[in-house]
């Protein structure tokens, strides 16, 4: 657990993240460029959905990322409440706007895919509705963090709410199995293996891996910003207390 404790020092985290960021950007570009090339020029069109299958290469990775970001926030929340790790609520707070953006991308691209395939921009289907709930939960958590001035108190309240809201993750994942939905069932993460053809699976996995690296880079930047924001707040409080004493 030494590495875990090493990260408890924000200054050490800032130094390490500054070294990591260029590698993350570079790796993301190295994976995304061939991923999108394959998605557009090598993957065939779907026998039923035609060219709209190209939307899958952004829709699915961002759906996964929207859920993975929330899972990361739930783990960070445990870190806040159980281990009181100084960077845990920084991580959770920094991840929330990213998760909200990913959920919004998932909903928008899903809508652009749904209209030509289903004939509707939106249906109150279990998968779509649970994803919308995830997006609203992100907005609620961002509002909570902004409503409470003390970041430690805000972090604890948000951690409890995040953990309660994590019940939505299995609902999103299994909504297509538990209910009769218009949304297609899982075709990659299945007990009996992927049902998607390899010519589409490889670019999908590449774009998903590249966007995950992109998320990690954005998350590190957001965490660095949050650490700086807390330093500014601390110094302003100290400056104010000095002014009162003087």
């Amino acid at each position: 657990m030494n590495w875990f404790n090493d990260f408890a020092n924000p200054t050490r985290f800032l130094n390490l993240s500054a070294k990591l960021l260029p590698w993350l950007w570079g790796l993301a570009a190295l994976i995304l460029i061939p991923g999108f090339y394959m998605a557009f020029f090598i993957a065939p069109e779907d026998y039923q959905q035609g060219q709209t299958i190209r939307i899958m290469f952004i829709h699915v990775p961002f759906a996964w990322l929207a859920m993975a970001t929330y899972a990361l926030m739930a783990i960070s929340s445990i870190g806040t409440l159980v281990w009181k790790h100084p960077l845990a609520d920084v991580s959770a707070k920094a991840a929330a706007p990213l998760g909200a953006a990913f959920a919004l991308i998932c909903l928008l691209t899903g809508s652009f895919w749904g209209k030509p395939m289903w004939g509707a921009w939106w249906v109150w289907d279990a998968r779509l509705t649970s994803m919308l709930v995830l997006f609203l939960m992100y907005l609620g958590l961002i509002a909570l963090w902004n409503a409470v001035e003390d970041p430690i108190r805000a972090g604890k309240a948000a951690a409890v709410l995040t953990l309660v809201g994590s019940i939505n993750l299995p609902i999103i994942k299994f909504s297509v199995d538990w209910w009769n939905t218009l949304h297609q069932p899982a075709s990659v993460f299945r007990f009996d293996g992927p049902t998607i053809h390899i010519s589409m699976l490889i670019p999908l996995l590449l774009t998903a891996a590249g966007m995950t690296l992109l998320f990690l880079a954005l998350h590190l930047i957001a965490m660095r910003n949050e650490i700086l924001r807390r330093r500014v707040r601390t110094l302003r409080l100290l400056e104010a207390s000095r002014a009162v004493e003087a």
Partner: protein, 66 residues
């Protein structure tokens, strides 16, 4: 290409949202850095950044960095 508009709208909206997100992060970073520098210019520093002081002076530097 059939349904080209829907595909283009998907990729454009994704690029727009990611662009706004990246821009917000960059501007936020600049804002926090500027605020930190302004505080340090006024002599409010963290303990690790505070200039060394003789032992006989006041406890101001200690208070600033707590």
């Amino acid at each position: 290409m059939q349904h080209f508009g829907f595909i283009l709208a998907s990729y454009l909206s994704t690029a727009l949202i990611l662009g706004v997100l990246a821009l917000w992060l960059i501007l936020d970073h600049k804002k926090q850095k500027a605020a930190l520098q302004a505080l340090e210019a006024r002599g409010v520093r963290r303990r690790s950044n505070a200039p060394a002081k003789p032992a006989t002076t006041s406890h101001d530097s200690e208070q600033v960095t707590k």
